[in-house]
């Protein structure tokens, strides 16, 4: 079975949980014999034919332009990062952009829905609507336009049985590819615009999400929570939705190896500093705990549009040097801060899944997580609290600070639990979904 997979993030190209989830999933799928052609927002026009498990780490690439491919194969790279830099896979997805091709975008999309053999008028409507919504001058929208433009080429030259697209940024590509190839499309919902925006969000993105899910043959939701959301908010046919929880790939370093930075108890928030993740609740609980335990340190790790506001509020609350900001952390630095923490908190207002607590727990850190998160459905050895119940968060943190032995034990139980939640299980479910989708699809075609 061969899959054409579209995703916006894949290590080392990551900005959040999506990249790590795709990595774990792809690796596990490869080990089960699935072949994947991966398309990323790279600078150069390449795809990644992944055949063995190891390919997820080495990322073998193929250039679409033959001359470029020849040049690429002739070139000697001293290391992986040099090679990835050559194709334009950097640690930030922002590097991808080419103005000159953008103009072609609308022509291409137009041509496809006018000339294709689409006869079902509903589909035609959807495509028209999507083109209308993928309009804007923002960098991101333009990048999505170009990515979609490229999907056209991949759709035609590659061979595959099924298309798998992760999150809205790649839905236009998935739809276009299905349009061209008549292969089944699975869209994967890691987060919706409602989760990201913590409110109504961008209506264009809602539309793209809606159209993607409507046009897809199957929809994978990363939790019951997300499935509920897409049924109630997007009115997606529940028969199409499959819930497959994300898992977490354990890092290979020795995890039971605590390296303190701070002498006092260390409480960690790790994630984007945006309204969705509840950094303001983190600050509120810190202010309460520090009244009782001034020796504690609260670390806000990550960046985002709320950092400025949180920084100023932490200063005006006179939290001294007890509430610290790390800014953006790379992978290595994330591992370092995890080794230094005692308690991990995820006070998300809305978290479709939330892979970060699993990672924290794999380091033996006691986790306290928002009840409004998908990950709360699958783990047991963690505290689960309504994100808004700041008093209870503070009491729980106080209790753990006052009972370090209990805190350590819960951490170890959590670590064991996470080790059992592996990607293999989730990948097996995805593989089954691929198989049933393919057989259903071919039956439809026969009819």
């Amino acid at each position: 079975m061969k899959i054409l997979m579209f995703t916006w993030e894949f290590p080392p190209l990551i900005s959040g949980g999506l990249g790590m989830a795709c990595y774990g999933m792809v690796k596990a799928l490869l080990s089960q014999g699935i072949k994947i052609d991966l398309v990323l927002p790279t600078k150069e026009l390449v795809y990644f034919p992944l055949r063995d498990e190891g390919d997820a780490d080495t990322l073998p690439a193929v250039f679409i332009e033959p001359e470029k491919q020849i040049e690429y194969t002739r070139r000697a790279f001293t290391c992986l990062s040099e090679r990835l830099e050559y194709i334009g896979v950097t640690t930030h997805p922002e590097s991808y952009f080419n103005m000159s091709e953008i103009a072609e975008y609308s022509n291409l999309i137009k041509k496809h829905y006018e000339l294709s053999e689409v006869t079902i008028s509903e589909e035609l409507e959807l495509l028209k609507e999507m083109t209308a919504h993928l309009i804007g001058d923002e960098d991101l929208i333009r990048k999505v336009q170009e990515y979609t433009l490229r999907a056209n080429r991949f759709a035609k030259i590659l061979e595959y049985d099924l298309i798998h697209a992760h999150d809205w940024l790649t839905y236009p590509s998935g739809i276009l590819t299905k349009q061209i190839s008549h292969k089944p499309l699975i869209v994967h919902i890691h987060a919706t615009e409602f989760d990201r925006a913590g409110g109504p969000g961008d209506p264009r993105i809602h539309k793209i999400e809606y159209i993607g899910m409507t046009y897809a043959d199957k929809v994978i939701a990363v939790s019951q929570y997300t499935a509920q959301m897409i049924m109630s908010r997007y009115r997606i046919d529940s028969g199409k939705i499959r819930i497959i929880h994300n898992a977490f790939t354990l890092p290979e370093t020795n995890l039971n190896n605590k390296k303190r930075i701070f002498i006092g108890p260390t409480i960690l928030y790790l994630g984007r500093v945006t309204i969705q993740k509840g950094p303001d609740y983190f600050l509120d609980m810190a202010a309460k705990v520090l009244k009782v335990h001034p020796e504690a340190r609260f670390i806000l790790a990550g960046t985002g549009d709320m950092q400025r506001q949180i920084l100023r509020r932490s200063a005006s609350l006179s939290l001294k040097n007890r509430f610290l900001f790390t800014g953006f952390l790379n992978r290595k630095q994330v591992e370092r801060i995890l080794q230094a923490a005692d308690i991990y908190v995820l006070p998300s207002v809305s978290e479709p899944f939330g892979i970060s607590p699993l990672e924290a727990m794999s380091y033996g850190i006691t986790a306290i997580i928002s009840k409004q998160s998908g990950v709360a459905e699958i783990i047991h050895h963690a505290f689960k609290i309504d994100y808004w119940d700041v008093d209870l968060w503070a009491e729980t943190i106080n209790h753990l600070i006052e009972n370090p032995e209990e805190c350590r034990k819960i951490g170890i139980e959590g670590m064991k639990e996470v080790q059992r939640i592996q990607w293999d299980e989730a990948a097996e479910k995805i593989r089954q979904l691929y198989a049933t989708t393919l057989s259903e699809f071919s039956e439809q075609r026969v009819e």
């Binding site: 303190r260 930075i261 701070f262 002498i263 006092g264 340190r297 670390i299 790790a301 950092q307 400025r308 920084l311 100023r312 932490s314 200063a315 005006s316 006179s318 939290l319 001294k320 040097n321 610290l324 900001f325 790390t326 800014g327 952390l329 630095q333 370092r336 801060i337």
Partner: protein
């Protein structure tokens, strides 16, 4: 006589590295030696060395009739020794002429007066000792960091033996109808006060090269003509003081050599001394020269020489600056309790007011002077690195 009193502030802070949370506990360097040495070498080359040379020539030429005063911070002296010893030597030559007064201040150019009187006194004594050790000079005039002054400061300074005069800003809201040209007394009438004549001082320090300023270009003749017409009182035999206080870096650094600032200074004394009722004096001369009943002035609230507001808002105006300074002085006390001298020195280097200035947001968007002086991308970054550095010291204290 109308006596022109030049006082130049010489100060360099120890700037911080981009000190992140993950640097804590690694014995990482808190101070950016490379940046500090680069700045010191650049400023020495553009400002300190050429201006010292010029002033030396002028002092020699006018044989005692041209005088200037300096306040040189401990952190500047230390960094001369580290990165530009020839600059320290050239200051010594100047001071040996006898026409240069050195002022007393806090060794670390800190805001300690506002937070911790004991720490303030420690830093003032440290500075006085340094002036004696380096230059054999006993200071008798005091200038607080950034000319911050209020009545309470004069009470503290009065208690320190030897200080007779304090200099500060000629703030309109205190002076009201009075002229900054007179010598005043503090509210308790036991110390002299000299007040900066900010309009004319800032014409040189800030507006000299500003082409949008209607008076541009500022020539010596024009400037001396203004001085000549300030008042008639000196003609009645009263000794007045035109206090031109400014950062020494005005010469060659804030105003580049190409603006003509050095030529201006070279020809200024000649034009002044050609008029019989104009001359130069040092702040300490006020005790001898004031030949009238000095009115006392009360400063109930602190003033400074910074920005339009001339208050503390450049260093303590926002919540980041307040939280950072509270954290610092609390830590200094805990370090003193434990008696760790190495940590105390580092904490004191963090007491330098510049660190708080970098966190100021008042004019940041306009790319104003605060941004010009800051080695960091934003006030937020300055705050984050500063708080992290304090945390490093605290963790070392706890170990």
């Amino acid at each position: 006589m109308l006596n022109i009193v030049f006082y130049f502030q010489v100060h360099q802070p120890y700037r911080l590295t981009h000190f992140n949370v993950l640097d804590i506990g690694n014995n990482a360097k808190i101070f950016d030696e490379r940046l500090n040495s680069n700045v010191m070498r650049k400023v020495s080359k553009n400002c300190y060395l050429p201006t010292n040379q010029l002033l030396l020539e002028l002092i020699q030429k006018y044989e005692g009739r041209f005088k200037v005063a300096f306040s040189i911070t401990g952190t500047a002296i230390e960094q001369f020794k580290l990165y530009s010893p020839e600059t320290l030597d050239s200051f010594k030559c100047l001071i040996d002429t006898g026409c240069v007064e050195l002022l007393g201040e806090t060794y670390f150019h800190s805001l300690s007066f506002l937070f911790d009187t004991n720490e303030f006194l420690d830093q003032v004594y440290m500075h006085r000792e340094l002036m004696q050790k380096e230059f054999g000079y006993y200071t008798t005039t005091f200038r607080n960091t950034e000319l911050i002054y209020q009545d309470r400061l004069s009470d503290i300074i009065y208690e320190i033996e030897g200080f007779k005069t304090i200099i500060t800003e000629g703030v309109d809201r205190i002076l009201q109808w009075r002229s900054p040209l007179y010598a005043y007394k503090n509210y308790a009438k036991n110390l002299n006060l000299l007040l900066k004549y900010y309009q004319l001082a800032d014409d040189i320090a800030f507006r000299f090269s500003n082409r949008d300023w209607p008076e541009y270009p500022l020539t010596v003749d024009k400037f001396v003509n203004w001085i000549d017409h300030l008042t008639l009182a000196e003609k009645e035999g009263k000794n007045l003081f035109l206090n031109l206080f400014m950062d020494y870096e005005t010469f060659g650094e804030h105003q580049w050599a190409s603006t003509g600032i050095f030529d201006f200074m070279r020809h200024f004394p000649d034009a002044v001394l050609s008029k019989s009722h104009l001359g130069f004096a040092n702040p300490k001369d006020v005790s001898r020269l004031a030949n009238y009943q000095q009115e006392s002035l009360s400063f109930p609230e602190p003033v400074s020489w910074a920005d339009e507001q001339r208050d503390l808002s450049a260093w303590l105006g926002n919540e980041m600056q307040q939280n950072a300074s509270e954290t610092l002085y609390e830590l200094i006390n805990r370090i003193k309790e434990k008696g760790d001298t190495d940590l105390l020195r580092m904490a004191r280097l963090l007491s330098t007011s510049d660190h708080f200035y970098y966190m100021c947001e008042k004019y940041f968007q306009d790319g104003d002077v605060h941004k010009y002086f800051s080695p960091y991308d934003s006030p937020d970054q300055a705050y984050i690195y500063y708080i992290n550095a304090l945390t490093e010291l605290e963790e070392r204290l706890l170990r």
